[in-house]
């Protein structure tokens, strides 16, 4: 298993509702990423569709065998490049999920369906989408990775479960809007993400690959600022705010090993205690206790 890999962050501005145009853009970036020596390229949440889909949801939904996705899968195979892309996945029984797929050489290894659908404030995901039911890891040529989508990461149990399932790298496509310009130097929402990811990387001894889109949708602006955080909480690389870009960063899994030896929080975690306590809390909330 490779101990190092170069990851490309495809910080794109998707065209709302135009899957073919977005697949084209993904393929173009995959070619560039390959030229820059990347082994894996990660794209933002709903990079193939745009975010505020509303009633476009029905039009853009794909299954993994949809012809629309094939150029992207072919590019992964032809370029021998792993790719994480995100789209609206329609299940056989016609539920619609915000999903991201991990693809190795044209073959889909894993699909993560977004578990936490924000439906508050400016967000309306619960109106259109079904919620995923699990956090599962995917075994890649570069070790075990965990997949989350945006709001999933605002629940600390998500990275917790993935880290304890063996993930050493967390892949995190996002669509985070720029909110609050009253802080200096970065958006309020961006600051929250930066702090959150630094803490997670250190608490769980993982690399985090955060890929956020850019561009406006009806006045809502996505800040970009994609980046990679190492297990010591430092940013390996960071993409600019507000503009499309492709940046690459190198992951050295030896850093995960060192971090987990130096600060063995995963080792010391009392999962039995957590399970016992959670079980009690759930039973009490259900009126059993």
């Amino acid at each position: 298993m490779a101990q190092s890999l170069r990851v490309a962050l495809g910080q794109v501005r998707p065209v709302l509702g135009d899957v073919a145009a977005n697949v084209d853009k993904h393929v173009t970036i995959m070619n560039e990423a390959k030229q820059q020596g990347a082994s894996l390229v990660v794209f933002p949440e709903l990079g193939l569709t745009g975010y505020q889909l509303q009633d476009l949801t029905l039009d853009v939904a794909c299954t993994l065998d949809s012809p629309a996705l094939q150029p992207l899968l072919s590019a992964s195979r032809d370029l021998a490049l792993d790719v994480v892309f995100s789209f609206v996945e329609e299940s056989r029984d016609h539920r619609f999920y915000i999903a991201s797929a991990y693809v190795t050489r044209g073959s889909v290894q894993h699909v993560h369906r977004k578990v936490y659908l924000p439906t508050y404030g400016m967000f309306d995901e619960g109106r259109y989408f079904a919620a995923g039911q699990q956090f599962a890891t995917v075994d890649t040529a570069y070790g075990t990775m965990g997949m989350l989508i945006c709001e999933d990461a605002w629940h600390p149990s998500s990275p917790y479960l993935l880290a304890h399932s063996g993930a050493r790298v967390l892949l995190l496509p996002s669509n985070s809007p720029a909110r609050s310009v009253t802080d200096q130097g970065e958006f309020g929402s961006q600051k929250f993400w930066r702090q959150l990811l630094q803490v997670y990387a250190q608490l769980f001894g993982v690399y985090i690959v955060f890929v956020n889109r850019v561009g406006f949708e009806d006045g809502v602006n996505f800040f970009g600022g994609s980046g990679i955080v190492s297990p010591d909480g430092a940013w390996v690389v960071q993409a600019p705010s507000l503009e499309e870009s492709l940046v690459c960063g190198d992951l050295h899994l030896a850093n995960v090993r060192r971090a987990r030896y130096t600060t063995p929080l995963l080792r010391d975690e009392k999962k039995d205690l957590v399970l016992r306590m959670l079980s009690r809390i759930v039973r009490r909330e259900g009126g059993e206790l």
Partner: protein
């Protein structure tokens, strides 16, 4: 029109009129107004609005405004007058030729080219809107919109012109349903039977400008919008793909006319994004 779709578009006329008259009454009263004002062009849409408003509030609480331009078909004003007489509506005739011509006399000179018919038509529509909102302030009367669902979906109207209003009682009625309801409420036959026209220039008809009939548009739009069929499914059912795509593109391209202006989100609570209240806030 496909008979099955025609059947599905058939309204329960009495029930529809009951809803729309209750709507006009409640909205006007909630807004703290007692009257309504609307443009009356001589066409079927504004005629239907006039009959609904008169039923909802009584003729004396309505003001019908006829705003002809030099090139408007004189028959339009005659037809509008027939509605005014039939309902006993208070009315005003406010010709818009003066202000519109004065504007273009100056602007054509500044730009060095004569305005296109489209620009002239838009200006007329906005002059009429401007007049209605002025009368709204003078009379304490809410402006009623007269755009139907077919026009709104096709974007066949002038933004901030005829598309502007405080409330629109017929915005969820397809053109064919406007015709049905107009017959029911007693709109004069001359209006029911003439070809629809924006009357912005001589011999203009909506259907020749659009390139398809309203019946065809209604049939397609009903399936695309109400039944959520895809253009591909409609094409498979034998509709001409070129005309179909034309309609699909119009609906998509004109979405901006159906939305308020876009605000760039900066703060943590942005009007229209996460500052959300109904217009009926507190009412």
């Amino acid at each position: 029109m496909n008979p099955e779709i025609q059947r599905r578009l058939q309204l329960d006329e009495a029930l529809t009129v009951a809803v729309l008259t209750a709507f006009i009454r409640e909205e006007v009263e909630k807004a703290g107004f007692s009257k309504v004002v609307f443009g009356l062009s001589g066409g079927i849409d504004s005629a239907l609005v006039a009959y609904l408003a008169a039923r909802a509030l009584g003729a004396e609480r309505c003001l019908a405004v006829m705003m002809p331009y030099t090139t408007s078909n004189p028959k339009s004003l005659e037809d509008a007058q027939a509605v005014v007489e039939d309902l006993g509506l208070p009315s005003l005739v406010v010709p818009i030729s003066g202000p519109v011509d004065a504007y273009f006399a100056g602007m054509d000179e500044r730009l060095g080219v004569p305005a296109t018919p489209l620009r002239r038509g838009n200006r007329m529509a906005r002059e009429r809107m401007s007049t209605l909102f002025d009368l709204s302030a003078h009379h304490g009367a809410l402006v009623l919109g007269t755009s139907n669902k077919t026009e709104l979906l096709l974007g066949y109207g002038t933004q901030f012109g005829d598309l502007a209003s405080a409330l629109n009682p017929i915005g969820d009625l397809y053109k064919s349903q406007v015709r049905q309801l107009s017959r029911f409420v007693g709109v004069p036959t001359a209006i029911l039977e003439k070809p629809p026209s924006a009357d912005l220039w001589q011999d203009q008809t909506d259907e020749s400008e659009l390139g398809f009939t309203y019946d065809f548009a209604d049939e397609v739009l009903y399936q695309l919008v109400d039944l959520r069929l895809s253009p591909e499914e409609l094409a498979a059912n034998g509709y001409d793909e070129r005309v179909l795509q034309g309609i699909v593109r119009r609906v998509q391209r004109n979405q901006y006319k159906r939305k308020p202006p876009v605000i760039a989100k900066l703060s943590s609570r942005t009007i229209g994004v996460d500052f959300r209240y109904l217009r009926d806030w507190g009412q």
